[in-house]
């Protein structure tokens, strides 16, 4: 029953040094049910990161209400885990200490946290890397650590801000599979912000395409590709005809939006 409910959410920023206000988000309404996988796509400036930061509790919305389960969101919390584009790992700590950071903040007993860390390192495919300094890991491995660090806290909702944006194509595909696997195995609610249309289609049971000025949800899709990706290889899914159709549709939609922005400016 830990649904994420977004009710008439809006966000305006003051432009520093001028009386102008920018409407980053306007009248956002949606409900994300427990266990759903949502990807959010849109041209730059459409407010998708702002939306994520509000859900994470880093920003206070200027209007509207947002609840997770029966609790209204009023700041960052353990029940909403974050995964950042660059990992945001603590480079002075080895892998295991990064993963159990949340547990240490909660003062979990040592045996318990050792077992948890081992379990999650296993799941993300980093068994035996516990003592490795994070700065010695590749970009993909660093993102695996970030995932494990987030999951070890057992959050209800996982928020990912372009988590695979800085990875090379091959690693990216592997990580996309990993995210799908984790989604299926843990049954967590996951929300992914991305700027890659293919990724949004693959990692979205639901997909929001957002539009700028003011930031709003332009169109919503329900897609079968995530389910398909659990049984088929992602490359095969991408070959499917309907995949290509939706991809082209969304691409031209975003293309038009960008054109509009350029001509408007």
């Amino acid at each position: 029953m830990a649904d994420l409910v977004c009710n008439d959410l809006s966000m305006t920023f003051r432009v520093p040094g001028s009386p102008l206000e920018v409407e980053a988000l306007k009248n956002i309404n949606f409900t994300l049910k427990k266990g759903e996988l949502l990807s959010v796509l849109g041209p730059s400036g459409c407010g998708k990161t702002t939306l994520l930061n509000i859900i994470a509790g880093f920003l206070n919305p200027s209007g509207g209400e947002i609840t997770l389960g029966d609790k209204s969101i009023e700041g960052p919390g353990v029940e909403r885990g974050m995964v950042f584009q660059q990992g945001a790992l603590f480079e002075w700590l080895p892998v295991a200490k990064n993963v159990d950071f949340g547990l240490r903040m909660k003062k979990t007993s040592e045996e318990e946290s050792i077992a948890l860390v081992e379990k999650w390192l296993d799941i993300v495919g980093l068994q035996g890397f516990g003592d490795t300094p994070t700065y010695q890991l590749s970009g993909g491995m660093q993102q695996r650590v970030a995932l494990a660090r987030c999951l070890v806290n057992d959050p209800d909702l996982i928020l990912m801000d372009e988590p695979l944006g800085a990875l090379d194509a091959l690693t990216r595909e592997k990580m996309q599979s990993l995210v799908l696997e984790l989604w299926k195995e843990t049954g967590k609610t996951i929300m992914i912000i991305t700027h890659s249309v293919e990724e949004a289609l693959l990692l979205g049971e639901r997909l929001f395409v957002m539009a700028p000025r003011p930031g709003r949800i332009h169109k919503e899709y329900r897609l079968p590709f995530a389910e398909r990706g659990l049984t088929k290889s992602l490359r095969d899914v991408k070959q499917d005809e309907d995949f290509a159709e939706v991809r082209e549709e969304i691409l031209s939609m975003i293309w038009n939006m960008e054109e509009e922005i350029m001509s408007g400016a």
């Binding site: 509790g57 960052p76 919390g77 353990v78 909403r80 974050m82 950042f84 945001a88 002075w92 903040m105």
Partner: protein, 642 residues
């Protein structure tokens, strides 16, 4: 053993010089061979280029040591140990001749007489032009003009060889002949001269307080010494010689009468006070010039030609007598050579201000001797040793007496029997003042430790106070803005500008210096910790928030480690700056410390000691930096990789 080493440092230096020379050339040989080996696969930008090679380091060190040995006259002393003694004898001759050469254009441009003639002539012109007409009568002015004209006439008479009488001429000829006699002696060689036993017992060059042994140690030196003694006699005789002329004597007598007449008028006449003062001053000035001329120190240039030639001849003979020494001087003793002053011979130029490497080691050895009775240490403090430190004195330092004052109750007073029984507060006060013996712990002692102690304590305080404040300034608007003006206002002031004030307030002992250094360390630590803390990536802080960390936990577990590289770099910089400031502060005031040693050495021109302290400071500074580099590589391996 040590005495033997000290006495034979020239031999040891010779050995070392040969060693350095050999390693210099061997290193070049190896280096060139290595370069040839690599020439094939080395391309422009080969990363191995920057690694250098031990052989080039050896080559550089050897070259440096050889240059040091050369410029400090270490080579001269190593290979020509008696050269300085012989040069000292030469210097004795030159010193003995100096009264004669001073009157001749040797070592200067003009005859002394020429200088006298031009200077006095100019002064007479000035005096005559500035005669105060108001205070003299016309006839008096006339007399004064005659006196001055006669003085000019006197200069002319003394300058003219025709007026010099026979006696005077023959006297100067005699001096020239005696000088020629000395030249002949110098040219006839030094066979048969034997140095005295006393001379042979003198300490070697540079091994005792007497820099260069004074008595001649060689046959050549004996001869030179003898010539010097005789030359001194001739100089004495020469100094008594005056220009004598009958014409001049007449004119002098007549002029003296005129001056006396005017002086008599001054004395007897009833002049107003200011008029009298002006008259007396003017007459005195006229008489002064006259008296400078009348003693016959002006000589015709022609009369000195003979003496001049004789002295030039003597110098030539001296040069010939030096023989091989001339080469030694030209090649191995850069600078002004050896000069004799009244009581001793001294090295001039780099030989004076650049101590020889072996002497530096010797000075360091003496300084480092922990036995003060045996002449070790400096000004009653050892260089670096250990001592028993009473724990009570640490207690005294850390517990302020005022803390005891604040306790309830009052201190005891004497009773009716004239006895004083201390109560608990008195006992606590004695404890706080370090009067209760609590045992002792071994502790470092000495000038070096005192300097290091000041830096270490100041750094510790600076880190303890500066890092937390800096971190808060990095994350909080209030701390940043509240403290920023204070710190940025005092920080740009050079620490030494604070020194006079701080030393006055806190005293010249450790307290004042530690506070001064604390000010330096504090500012640097605050700024580095602030930079480190404010540079924490937002995503890291957000991630920590999402992982359930509280603000305090983020400060402790995220922002502090994130600032650690900057903090450690700050410590490294602060130690360097503190070290520099400390030495300067110790030079300003104090009784111990490395800077203190250098300051005292400066006032007594002890160049060896100055160099030793400079070397100590350099090595200690390097040591501090090496420790910090090691700590940085151990504590923050992730630096630059995050």
């Amino acid at each position: 053993m040590l005495d033997w080493i000290s006495d034979n440092r020239a031999v040891i230096a010779a050995f070392l010089i040969l060693l350095f020379g050999a390693s210099f050339f061997i290193a070049i040989y190896i280096g060139l061979k290595q370069s040839a080996l690599r020439a094939k696969d080395e391309v422009f930008g080969d990363p191995d280029r920057t690694k250098g090679g031990w052989y080039w380091a050896l080559c550089g060190v050897s070259a440096l040591m050889l240059v040091w040995f050369y410029y400090s006259w270490g080579m001269a002393r190593a290979f020509f140990p008696t050269a300085a003694n012989e040069f000292c004898q030469v210097a004795k001759v030159e010193e003995a001749l100096s009264p004669i050469t001073a009157t001749l254009p040797i070592g200067s441009r003009y005859y002394k007489s020429t200088t006298l003639v031009t200077r006095n002539g100019a002064q007479l012109d000035d005096l005559q032009a500035g005669m105060p007409v108001a205070v003299f009568t016309a006839s008096e002015m006339n007399t004064l003009n005659v006196i001055m004209d006669d003085t000019r006439e006197l200069i002319a008479i003394f300058s003219n060889p025709e007026y010099q009488n026979e006696v005077s001429i023959s006297e100067f000829e005699m001096v020239a002949a005696e000088l020629d006699g000395l030249s002949e002696r110098l040219r006839s060689g030094y066979d048969g001269y034997v140095p005295t036993a006393e001379a042979l017992e003198q300490a070697n060059w540079g091994t005792s307080k007497v820099e260069i042994p004074l008595l001649p140690e060689t046959a050549r030196g004996m001869m030179l010494d003898e010539v010097a003694t005789e030359a001194a006699g001739i100089s004495k005789q020469f100094l008594k010689l005056r220009n004598q002329s009958d014409e001049a004597d007449e004119l002098i007598a007549a002029t003296r009468v005129k001056i006396d007449t005017i002086k008599a008028v001054n004395k007897s006449g009833s002049f107003a006070e200011d008029v009298l003062a002006e008259r007396t001053a003017y007459v005195k000035a006229v008489e002064r010039i006259f008296k400078r001329i009348d003693d016959g120190t002006i000589l015709p240039a022609e009369s000195l030609v003979g003496v001049n030639l004789a002295v030039v001849n003597l110098y030539d003979a001296l040069d010939e007598a030096k023989g091989g020494l001339r080469t030694v001087e030209a090649l191995f003793m850069p600078g002004d050579g050896i000069v004799k002053s009244r009581t001793q011979c001294t090295e001039q130029g780099p030989g004076r201000w650049l101590p020889k490497p072996t002497d530096v080691v010797g000075t360091f050895w003496t300084l480092g001797n922990p036995n003060l009775e045996a002449g070790g240490g400096y000004k009653g403090t050892v260089l670096l040793w250990w001592k028993w430190l009473p724990i009570a004195s640490i207690v005294d330092f850390f517990i302020p007496d005022s803390l005891i004052d604040m306790l309830p109750g009052s201190y005891g007073s004497h009773d009716q029997d004239g006895q004083f029984v201390p109560n608990y507060k008195d006992n606590l006060l004695a404890f706080a003042q370090g009067e209760v013996y609590l045992g002792a712990i071994p502790m470092f002692d000495g000038h070096i430790w005192d300097s290091m102690f000041r830096v270490i304590v100041a750094m510790a305080l600076g880190i303890l106070v500066g890092v937390p404040l800096g971190i808060y300034m990095g994350v909080s608007r209030f701390f940043k803005s509240f403290f920023d003006p204070l710190i940025e206002l005092y920080r740009p002031v050079p620490p030494l500008a604070w020194a006079p004030l701080i030393l006055t307030i806190f005293g010249i002992q450790d307290d004042g210096k530690i506070f001064l250094l604390f000010m330096v360390a504090f500012a640097i630590m605050v700024i580095s910790a602030r930079t480190g803390a404010s540079g924490t990536q937002l995503s890291k802080i957000r991630a920590s928030h999402s992982l359930g960390a509280s603000n305090g936990q983020i400060l402790r577990y995220v922002i502090l480690p994130n600032a650690l590289p900057e903090i450690l770099t700050g410590i490294r910089i602060a130690i360097g700056v503190c070290w520099g400031t400390l030495v300067a502060a110790e030079m300003l005031a104090g009784t111990t410390g490395v800077g203190f040693i250098e300051n005292v050495a400066r006032t007594v021109s002890d160049y060896e000691l100055i160099w030793v302290t400079i070397l100590i400071m350099g090595v200690l500074g390097l040591l501090f930096d090496l420790v910090m580099r090691y700590l940085i590589s151990r504590l923050i391996p992730w630096r630059g990789k995050g």
